[in-house]
């Protein structure tokens, strides 16, 4: 069964702040070579198409950041505080606090949203975790937040955050290198920039049997089924979602100044460019090196880096595109 979610925006709700934090500890991907080569052993990924088509190279990532003793929630808290201070928003003004972490929660298995609610003094916030173990959690959290803001007038500000720490192998399959980090967004009514113009997502429930519990540690992840059943449709679904959003807004890909995509590999960036028939330089590529794939944080990291690099001029339009195991695909159109 395919489930689609397509809220149409009427303007006014926007991403008015974004920040990310990385653990201090840097690990060269060369040190992870054993994991990498293990992931390419015969009978596994090497028998499939992934190594040829979507495989990451060690050089293009160079290094990732890895947690090493930082307290749970500390990086996410820093990222949120940076946004709140910049926007001069107090903790008590936050009406909604959503955790979109993918692979990591507090030690007791419960979302970090309560701990951060306390640390921020966000007494008035409704707390929620959109955490299905998939990188798509970020965009699904974004859609959820927009739906809340549209339906609850008393919510002026929503904070979305994640803090992901991988426990186990960092190549799985070798489509990317998993890094650790935290990210946060401020969603705001009557925002002056980062306006969310449209969103769409597509969930293919018929693929749910490909995953199992703890799939990022390779337990119950049917890689062969992923390759055989999901990969043939991956770029088609992505492309159709993009075109649907653009058509609804009476835009074309020529109206998009920059595409922000998940940081998987150079091959995957090139695959997206080919699927959308756009030049690779219209996709933001610089977030992969030094970060690897940090699940839902990828898009926030790329948003921050692109803004810093002056690539998101006021009034320009960007597409946020990502997908996640489970399997969901999502697109957000924003006006910077």
């Amino acid at each position: 069964m395919r489930i689609e979610f397509e809220p149409r925006m009427e303007g006014g709700i926007g991403i008015s702040g974004a920040a990310f934090r990385l653990p201090r500890n840097r690990v060269s991907v060369r040190e992870l070579r054993t994991d990498y080569e293990s992931a390419l052993q015969p009978g596994r990924a090497s028998d499939l198409l992934i190594p040829k088509l979507r495989q990451v190279s060690l050089d293009e990532v160079n290094h990732v950041h890895v947690f090493n003793g930082e307290p749970e929630g500390s990086l996410a808290l820093d990222a949120i505080r940076e946004i709140l201070e910049t926007r001069r928003v107090a903790g008590k003004e936050i009406g909604l606090l959503i955790d979109y972490s993918t692979v990591s929660r507090a030690a007791n298995g419960i979302s970090l949203c309560y701990k951060l609610q306390r640390d921020l003094g966000a007494d008035n916030a409704l707390t929620l975790a959109v955490n299905n173990g998939s990188c798509a959690s970020f965009q699904l959290a974004l859609q959820t937040a927009v739906a809340f803001l549209k339906s609850r007038d008393e919510i002026q500000y929503a904070i979305l955050f994640s803090e992901d720490r991988t426990r186990g192998k960092r190549f799985h399959p070798p489509m990317s290198v998993l890094g650790d980090g935290a990210s946060a967004l401020l969603l705001e009514r009557n925002a002056q920039r980062g306006l969310i113009l449209d969103q769409a997502s597509n969930s293919m429930g018929k693929f749910c049997d490909i995953l199992g519990v703890n799939h990022w540690n390779e337990t119950n992840f049917d890689l062969s089924a992923f390759e055989n059943r999901v990969v043939p449709l991956h770029y088609k679904i992505t492309r159709e979602l993009v075109l649907r959003v653009l058509e609804r807004q009476r835009l074309t890909l020529k109206d998009i100044d920059l595409v922000l995509y998940q940081n998987m590999s150079g091959n995957d960036f090139r695959g997206l460019a080919a699927a959308l028939a756009v030049d690779i330089d219209r996709i933001y590529l610089d977030g992969l090196e030094g970060h690897g794939h940090i699940f839902g944080s990828d898009l926030v990291i790329n948003l921050c880096l692109a803004r810093r690099a002056g690539k998101l001029n006021p009034g320009s339009r960007s597409l946020l595109i990502s997908s996640g195991a489970g399997f969901s695909w999502a697109v957000t159109l924003i006006q910077n």
């Binding site: 040829k52 055989n228 059943r229 990969v231 043939p232 770029y235 080919a274 699927a275």
Partner: protein, 95 residues
Amino acid sequence: MNEIDNNTIRQNVLDYLVSMHFNEYEGDVRFDTPLLELGIIDSLSMMTCILFLEQKYGLDFFEIDVSRNDFASINTIATLVSRSLETQKTAVAAQ
């Protein structure tokens, strides 16, 4: 779907693959050429091939159980199309 139709599908797919010149493959492409093994079809060319088949035969691949192995050769692609058209025809007749 009868034999003639299946041959037509195979020929249409062959013409399409030759015209697209996927991955700059220079050898002959026949009905039994191993498309995946030779790298003629990858995940990107698979996507464009799926779009071609949807447009040409009115199929919806969201509703079809498609697998990478269905793209192993032109023969298997034609079988996929024939099977899907038959399923689609049966579903319409049942309505």
